[in-house]
Amino acid sequence: MKKENLMPSIVLSAICLVAALLLSVINMFTAPAIEAAQNAAANAALLEVLPDGKNFESIEITSDYPAAVTAGHKADGGYVFQMSVTGYKPGLVIMCGIDTEGKIVGVKHIQSSETYGMEPELNGVYVGDTLDSVELILATGATSSSKTSAAYYEAVKAALQAYVIANGGSVDVRTPEQILQDNCNAALGTEGKTFAKWFATEALVGVDAVYETDGGRVFVIGESFIGVNAGGAIVTADVSADNTATVNAAYTAVTESTLTEITTLPEGVSASVQKTYVTASGNYVFEVKASGYKHATNVEFAGIDDGYFFIKVSIDSEGKIIDVITTSHSESAGYGDACATEDYYEQYRGKADADVTLAVTAPDFHLDQIADGTSGVGIIASSTFTTYGYQKAVKNAFAAYELITEGGNE
């Protein structure tokens, strides 16, 4: 290569090299100052939730801390913890300052995608609380902001628990679901098994819930978890005689509750009722297809007949709902997805056909028909289509029940 062709590259490279060298020297001098300035800015944020804090130092967040806690700082005036929780949407990041007496002195959200803008109000409601006194506080307009309120409660409770751990104490940081699974495993003498709630096809007297796994079942009576192995023997120690009798009766009812499919249905049963079963005791189980928000938008805006959600309803011989469950759905997160929660199922349990009233005659995209605070069985605030779809599906199950039993057992 000729010299004149090489020179430009050499000169340009040399200039780049010298520039990089000089910048690295400047960086050596400025880096500590930049870090200090950044720390000062971060401390300013920490001071917002812990005004009396001095000399903030980052602390290591180990697996002993609640899962929601993502960062922590120790200061002369207390601690500041940062939590990431899920309200209506994931990514609600909250900072919580706790003084040396374990009291919350400041709460502030530093990142949020919540819909209802309740954060400023919720930032103030937990100030002064301790781990012993903290309780869930719902923001104004509680129906629409309940998930945000619950997320705030989870965050401040996690911060208070983290405070105890940071001071050398220990607290139970498990989630309610983890506690349930641990209790079930303990009752059955197993480890790491996953338990699923039994869809009740029989009304069990004295038993609140039944959980199943491949090695047996666990019956919940109040605070007691009683395990029964695959052979039908109670394996939990120190079970009272009353509870033993209750569990034995429930175990028999559960194991004998076999479902027989009814293939020929009477005329007039809604096509949305996809499968119908009857138990030996005369209870009925219906699998029903429901049209919620997903299906309605698919039809309205894309012309696609898709997006249904599916539910199961069991009705006893007296025409009352034993249990309901949403078996699959694509309803909106933060809105219609409330139809797949235990709280929602509970609204239907024990209800007869007359107790369930359709909240709207027909949902309409142009009208916000279910307002916040509207009450009734199966109503989900701001989710008109899901509410209507669920209620309609339950009503269809009742109608099918009526036709099959020729007017029920009246």
Partner: protein
Amino acid sequence: MSSNKKLMILLRGIITENPVLILVLGTCPTLANTTSMFQAVSMGLAATVVLIGSNFVISLLRNIIPDTVRIPCYIVVIAAFVTAVSMLLQAYVTPVYDILGVWLALIVVNCIVLGRAEMFARKNGPLDSALDGLGMGLGFLLALLVMSTIREVLGAGTILSGMTAFGIEAIKIPVIYDLRMPFLVESSGGFLVFGILIAVMAKITEKRGGLKRKSFSCEGCPSAHICHKTSCSEVTELAAEAFDVAVENKEIEIENTEEKEVSENA
């Protein structure tokens, strides 16, 4: 070179060849950084430091840098200065770093800086180039200050806003605050003020015999190899000659004035 010529180099950027109001360069940062006087001064000073430094270094290297790679070389030098200024501001004057935001890094592509490197520093000595950088920087700063004063005072009805980090609260100007025109701190107001200032400068220069139009050679033009070089060169040469004659006349006029003053004093 006489001290008067050096003074001319310095003053040229401030008044007669003001980069913003006469040459209409650096319009983007001008419009974006003139909503408050503090931001405008910060931007002007940062750009001035970069202009002085880059002009000086580029002039020093003007005989070493091959023509074919001079633009990349200039960019590297300018980028190095911008990065250095950026690091120093972030370390020691964080509020200024915060208020300038992305505009600080964008000084790299400010056409005033690259323009002076190409038009002046590569043809003149380091000291003159540094003076040119200082003059152009001060011209940029002055234009920003005038524009931001109008926008902040009449648009927001305040002075010294944006200085909370230094413990200085914005001062609301009585009466004006109540009669303020908020659109002036919006983009539309920026364009309006910018246009009015250019018109005023044009009127002033018109009274003094009009603005001398510079003609530039094809050298450095990326399209030079595909355009009609002959005709372009002819036009450029004529314009360059006219410019040189004008400069010579001006220098003679200055020297005569100096001699006259000296003789009068004597």
